[in-house]
């Protein structure tokens, strides 16, 4: 019960702090003092109080899609282990459900962006849809390989890797963690795939899709996008932390890892520039090739 409550508390409270840490890191590297880590909470609260401005072109879908997208990401988060390797809802084939619910959110945000008839939002929507085609494949191969090796279809399988695969399990863990790190950058729309701070519409993906959203809708989309990053970070954390660790140690390590990932993202954003749009594809393909290496490892460990 405690785990369930902690899971939900983390899902609700942590994502915005995650963004806060990234922004603080970026400020640190550029020599600024930067906003406080809890600044994103103020931003979201401010947005909640604001009125709405809606495009004349938009239809009913434009008003309901941010809520559904948020619900989808929230639901996906309930399927993911946050604290103590346990998720709120554990089901067979959990990762398939997870991927499809995330896709549901993506579907609505793409369609919602197309609703205002802007060429910029069409651009973002088109890129989001095109790039996600390959990202999902990588995710499915990774999670499918883990399911194959552990004979477990739930997300709990990630804790069983070492037990079932022996030493090769370390390699599998490292590869999956790298893939998830890249997925954070892609799904969270961070550099080198997308730059959340740019103000040139032509080069943006996620930010350009929400140009016309305001008030509470924008708040929901901001939160959903932060939660997406936290979801993959939690997967990484649960993969690294040993299963036997007690709650306090777990929480300590968990916060450490979440902080480290956020710090890493901030550092990457300070250190390198965005990739050219046509190079993004190669970057995404990299995840799929990692997946194929995973598959080879699985075959080795299962049949040797």
């Amino acid at each position: 019960m405690l785990n369930v409550i902690l899971n939900i508390v983390f899902i609700i409270l942590l994502p915005l702090a995650f963004i806060g840490v990234i922004n603080k890191t970026k400020a640190f590297w550029s020599g600024r003092k930067g906003a406080s880590i809890i600044q994103p909470y103020y931003d979201v609260l401010r947005l909640l109080k604001k009125e709405l401005v809606i495009s004349r072109t938009a239809s009913f879908l434009f008003q309901i899609y941010p809520s559904i997208t948020l619900a989808a990401v929230f639901m996906a988060a309930l399927l993911i282990p946050f604290v103590m390797h346990s998720s709120v809802i554990t089901i067979e084939g959990g990762f398939i459900f997870f991927a499809y619910i995330m896709a549901f959110g993506k579907f609505l945000s793409v369609v919602g962006a197309m609703d205002v008839g802007s060429s910029f939002e069409g651009m973002g929507a088109s890129r989001e849809a095109s790039f996600s085609t390959l990202v999902e494949v990588a995710f499915f191969i990774i999670m499918g390989s883990i399911a194959a090796i552990t004979s477990d279809n739930t997300f709990g399988a990630i804790t069983l890797i070492l037990e079932k695969a022996g030493t090769i399990g370390y390699l599998i863990k490292i590869l999956s963690i790298i893939t998830f790190l890249i997925l954070i950058l892609i799904e969270g729309c961070r550099i080198p795939v997308d730059d959340p701070n740019t103000h040139l519409e032509l080069t943006m993906i996620h930010e350009v899709m929400i140009l016309d959203n305001s008030g509470i809708d924008l708040a929901m989309l901001t939160y959903a996008s932060a939660l997406k990053m936290l979801i993959f970070t939690s997967l990484i954390a649960n993969m690294i932390i040993p299963e036997s660790s007690p709650l306090l140690l777990f929480l300590l390590l968990y916060f450490l890892i979440v902080f480290a990932v956020a710090f890493g993202i901030g550092t990457i954003e300070s250190a390198i520039a965005r990739l050219r749009m046509s190079r993004v594809f190669d970057f995404i393909c990299f995840t799929s090739s990692l997946g194929i290496i995973m598959l080879a490892l699985i075959v080795v460990s299962m049949f040797s």
């Binding site: 809520s67 619900a71 089901i91 459900f97 579907f107 369609v111 929507a125």
Partner: protein, 662 residues
């Protein structure tokens, strides 16, 4: 059984009865006959499905057919009940859809006659157990659907598409005749049950005959590379016919394959891998091409190919489960594949009917000429959106359930400790995922460009009202099916259990069934939690917005003040990055004529993307055949006397053949 036959006769009679009615009343009269007939058929088949009543009827036909047996088993009962319900909705919709074609010399009467013939053949096919009679009914179905496609016969492209369809179906029939005659040659009878031994005696012969029949049925189902008629015939046919062809007729191809599998009994491992491989290729190729189409119906036709691929993939996984003695994999695979047959016919009909409604109002199906329909035709748009979400396999709706079952079959298959299975299932898993995400891309494009944004042409600006209630009703019913199956999949297990049992015969069948039932219970529970989460968040949103002003303003255009509908993303620009990513898989011809003068002048951009297999596979074959056949052109010299001589020679040969045979 007699009730079923009366039902078939009523459907057939309905078409001919429409001769005697006034033009406006023809549809209603046919609907009356059809609903009575299909209701009888539905009752009988549901009775057979749930209470395992094996209705049987047999009669003798003169040489060479012999005894013809009509027999109900779960498989035929499933197909017949699907045809009865979906067919009813199609005819209901067609009645209102054809209103704008009345009294304009379109041949409404012949349309209804052929519709009657089409449905009576379609509904009869699943019970026929005699190869000869099966082929006759098959031919009736193909020929009548040719005339149904040919409805708008004043258009040149309709005629060429219909003839393409006719020829393709006859190539398909050649394979079927070949396969069935080999079987009946060895067994000495046309009865399906006599083929069983042939399949079991000679492994090579069995595989060869299976592949021949698979090709024959594959043409009808639209399996890659035999799919090329689908994207041509669907845009040519009127929308309710496209819906019926895509929803029901191509499934009869799948029925044929399933029937052959049932007759074969014990399986060879090569066949299981073969079916799975074809399924994967079909779904990937179908959706890849669907995403670049500009015409809604062509896009939907390619998406039908994709869904047939998913169905075949599910069946292939189920077959591998049987071969490797894993009941759970077999159960889940077959359940997923068979459920997807039903699901696809539901959402594809919904989408085609939605397309028909758009066409009645906007008179175009080019995605780039539509737009802004969510505001102009709200109810149609919501229903279409439901269909689009379902076909992309989104949770809460039925498409997800069948895909989820196939995924679960693949995941359970990893427990079979076999190298081939792990690799093949992992490839299938990745392909399913890729298909799913490409479907997302394809259908966000379809909905985003064709239904949203500003009107993209003058044609849409004239649309002010939604279609009438009679055109909406069948779509509402279909959308309700989609949501019910999506939220309560556990109920569907009860319907499908006897059906799956006829394929998967194993001792631990009930265990697999129990596991699946629990799985679906949880899926249903999670879906309902998800639905309530959506509702809660929407409620919170409207609560927070209660006393706030919602103001309307123009779309953000980056400070540019003269934005118009021409600046919106188009169908091609939406898939542009995607086409660039997979540029090797498309044959893209770009033609850019940009303004070269200093002052603004006109320019144009045109891009053509052709079906890769059609360009590099089908066309070379057709050209080769054309070359060979050109050498025989002297046979057709136009002189009547010679033709009579041909007839005479044929008769003599037939008589001689008959003597030798008997």
């Amino acid at each position: 059984m007699y009730f079923f036959l009366i039902g078939v006769c009523l459907i057939l009679a309905g078409g001919f009865a429409s001769i005697f009615a006034r033009e406006e009343r023809k549809g209603l009269l046919f609907l009356l006959f059809f609903s009575t007939g299909s209701f009888l058929a539905l009752v009988i088949s549901l009775d057979s499905l749930f209470f395992s009543t094996f209705y049987c009827f047999s009669f003798n036909l003169p040489f060479p057919a012999g005894q013809v047996k009509l027999l109900f088993d779960p498989l035929s009962a499933f197909f017949i009940s699907m045809i009865a319900v979906m067919g009813f909705l199609g005819v209901f919709y067609g009645n209102s859809y054809l209103k704008s074609y009345l009294n304009k010399d379109y041949g409404i009467t012949s349309h209804y006659i052929f519709l009657g013939v089409f449905f009576s053949a379609l509904i009869l096919l699943p019970v026929i157990r005699n190869a000869f009679f099966f082929l006759i009914a098959w031919e009736f179905m193909s020929l009548s659907s040719f005339f149904l496609v040919l409805f708008d016969r004043k258009k040149k492209e309709v005629i060429s598409a219909a003839i393409n369809y006719l020829v393709t179906m006859h190539i398909s029939v050649i394979f079927l005749i070949l396969g069935f005659s080999i079987l009946s040659f060895f067994s000495g009878s046309y009865d399906f049950s006599s083929f069983h031994n042939i399949f079991n005696n000679n492994r090579f012969l069995a595989d060869a005959v299976f592949v021949i029949l698979f090709i024959g049925f594959g043409f009808k189902a639209g399996l890659v590379p035999l799919h090329f008629w689908l994207p041509k015939a669907h845009p040519a046919a009127p929308s309710h016919i496209s819906g019926l062809m895509s929803g029901l007729m191509i499934k009869i191809g799948i029925y044929g394959i399933l029937r052959m599998l049932l007759i074969m009994g014990n399986l060879h491992i090569e066949i299981a891998y073969f079916v799975l491989a074809i399924g994967i290729i079909t779904m990937l190729y179908g959706i890849l091409n669907a995403s670049v189409q500009n015409d809604i119906k062509k896009l939907l036709a390619y998406s039908s190919i994709e869904n047939i691929g998913i169905i075949t993939c599910g069946i292939g996984v189920g077959l591998l489960g049987i071969v490797y003695n894993n009941t759970l994999v077999a159960f889940l695979g077959f359940f997923g594949g068979l459920l997807h047959i039903l699901n696809h016919s539901i959402f594809k009909e919904l989408l085609f009917f939605g397309t028909g409604s758009v066409y009645t109002k906007a008179h175009t199906l080019n995605i780039d000429e539509l737009g802004s329909l969510t505001k102009r035709m709200p109810t149609t748009s919501i229903l279409f959106f439901t269909g689009v979400l379902a076909i992309s396999g989104m949770p809460l709706l039925n498409g997800f359930i069948s895909e989820f079952l196939i995924y679960m079959a693949l995941l359970s298959g990893f427990k079979i400790h076999d190298l081939n299975i792990v690799i093949v299932f992992m490839i299938s898993l990745a392909s399913m995922a890729l298909t799913g995400t490409m479907a997302l891309m394809c259908f966000t494009k379809l909905f985003g460009i064709a239904f949203q944004g500003m009107p993209r042409s003058e044609k849409v600006k004239e649309v002010t009202t939604d279609v009438g209630m009679w055109m909406l009703l069948p779509k509402i019913a279909l959308a309700a099916f989609i949501i019910i199956i999506g939220l309560l999949p556990n109920v569907m297990l009860l319907v499908f259990e006897p059906l799956i049992k006829s394929f998967v015969r194993a001792e631990n069948f009930s265990q697999a069934s129990f596991f699946t039932f629990n799985l679906l219970n949880i899926v249903s529970l999670v879906s309902i939690i998800f639905l309530s989460l959506i509702i809660i968040i929407l409620a919170i949103r409207s609560f927070l917005l209660k006393n706030k002003k919602i103001s309307l303003y123009k779309t953000w255009d980056c400070g540019y003040q003269a934005g118009n509908q021409k600046m919106q993303y188009t169908s091609y620009s939406f898939v542009g990055p995607f086409v660039e990513m997979f540029s090797n898989l498309f044959t893209k011809k770009e033609n850019l004529n940009s303004p070269k003068t200093l002052f603004p002048s006109k320019g144009h951009f045109r891009v053509n993307i052709d079906d890769l297999l059609e360009v590099y596979f089908t066309e070379p074959i057709i050209n080769g055949i054309k070359k060979i056949l050109a050498k025989f052109i002297w046979i057709q010299n136009g002189s009547t006397q010679i033709y009579i001589l041909y007839g005479f020679i044929f008769l003599i040969l037939a008589i001689i053949g008959l003597f030798i045979y008997s």
